[in-house]
């Protein structure tokens, strides 16, 4: 028999520390597979966030930087301006990108930085134990929103893809999900297109990946996939918000 699926060379041997069923594992794998298939593993530099994926620098088989919380797009800018011929990506959660890092991601997109951002949106703060995120849904409970997110007090959740798509320098903006195999395959396609936009020198690219956090949502991994489908997708619609004409 022929092998149709095996571990990609884009990942190191280190086992993931993520919780059982956490979709970070799937997303790391998709990024690593895309980089291997594009043949750019040896020319890639990634930037890890502060959040559950803080140890991403141990998992990707490429040069990696740690960044301060939210500052990955600025760090990536420094790297890409020194190495314009290399593939540079950031991997960020919703606290990192949409809260403290809101300024940095807007300006990376605005300048049209030729980097690719993988934005993992699980509507909560994972690593620090379940606090509210800018992406937490109205009514959703979190440790700093113990009575449920109140729209009158803290507004509605932020839709990053729609917001960044209004910026000219953001040449590829797509929101995907990883809650079932069909969507995982679509997510991989989007991630590949995003990196191809970088490789063709067109500008900034971002893929927002709707993800689960079973531990802090208080659900089993399987229940968490359903919660994502039923609650997150209606508010965060899947699809492409911006692409250069050539991308299908």
């Amino acid at each position: 028999m022929a092998i149709v699926f095996e571990k990609t060379k884009g990942l190191t041997e280190k086992p993931f520390h993520y919780c059982p069923g956490c979709t970070h594992g799937i997303i790391h794998r998709l990024v690593a597979e895309v980089l291997e298939e594009l043949g750019v593993l040896g020319d890639t530099i990634g930037v890890a966030p502060v959040g559950c994926a803080v140890f991403a620098y141990d998992y990707f088989n490429v040069d990696m930087h740690e960044a301060a919380h939210g500052r990955a797009p600025a760090v990536a800018t420094g790297i890409k301006r020194v190495h314009p011929d290399k593939v540079v990506f950031t991997y960020q959660g919703d606290g990192d990108l949409a809260s403290i890092g809101a300024g940095e991601i807007v300006h990376a997109a605005h300048r049209g930085e030729k980097i690719t951002t993988i934005f993992v949106n699980n509507a909560i703060y994972g690593m620090t134990g379940g606090q509210m995120a800018p992406t937490t849904l109205v009514g959703q409970k979190a440790t700093t929103a113990p009575y449920g997110r109140d729209e009158a007090h803290t507004g509605k959740p932020i839709r990053i893809s729609e917001m960044l798509a209004t910026i000219d320098g953001a040449k590829f903006v797509e929101r995907v999900s990883v809650h079932d195999p069909a969507n995982i395959r679509k997510a991989k396609k989007a991630i590949r297109s995003a990196f191809e936009v970088q490789l063709s020198g067109k500008g900034f690219s971002i893929v927002e990946v709707l993800s689960t956090c079973p531990t802090n949502w208080g659900l089993t991994p399987v229940e968490a996939l359903n919660w994502l489908k039923e609650n997150m997708i209606p508010y965060y619609p899947l699809g492409n918000f911006r692409k250069p004409e050539e991308v299908e």
């Binding site: 028999m1 022929a2 149709v4 086992p15 799937i26 794998r29 298939e37």
Partner: protein, 96 residues
């Protein structure tokens, strides 16, 4: 037989042409000690053969994934696609 590697994609031909329908036969292997018992794989198998092995505990303390009826595996790789810990390797061949 040389092992050729190819990626599963939706254009994969299941029929060899003509009137004969070839069937896919698959085989999955598990890196059991990496399994965290999350059970995501058990929800996506089209032949419903992926189960957690309740009689076994792996090095991490979880019931690892297993398949008892490998003859029903069609090598679709859904389980490996959704596994967050790269536990599963999938093989496949076409048979008459």
């Amino acid at each position: 037989m040389s092992l050729t590697k190819f990626r599963f994609n939706s254009n994969f031909q299941l029929s060899k042409g003509g009137n004969k329908m070839a069937k896919a036969r698959g085989k999955v292997t598990f890196n059991e000690d990496k399994c965290k018992g999350c059970e995501l794989c058990t929800t996506v198998c089209p032949t419903k053969i992926v189960v957690m092995n309740k009689d076994k505990i792996n090095a991490k303390g979880y019931h690892p994934v297993t398949v008892f009826e490998m003859d029903k595996c069609i090598g679709c790789a859904n389980c490996a696609t959704i596994c967050p810990d790269v536990v599963i390797t999938v093989e496949r061949e076409m048979v008459e």
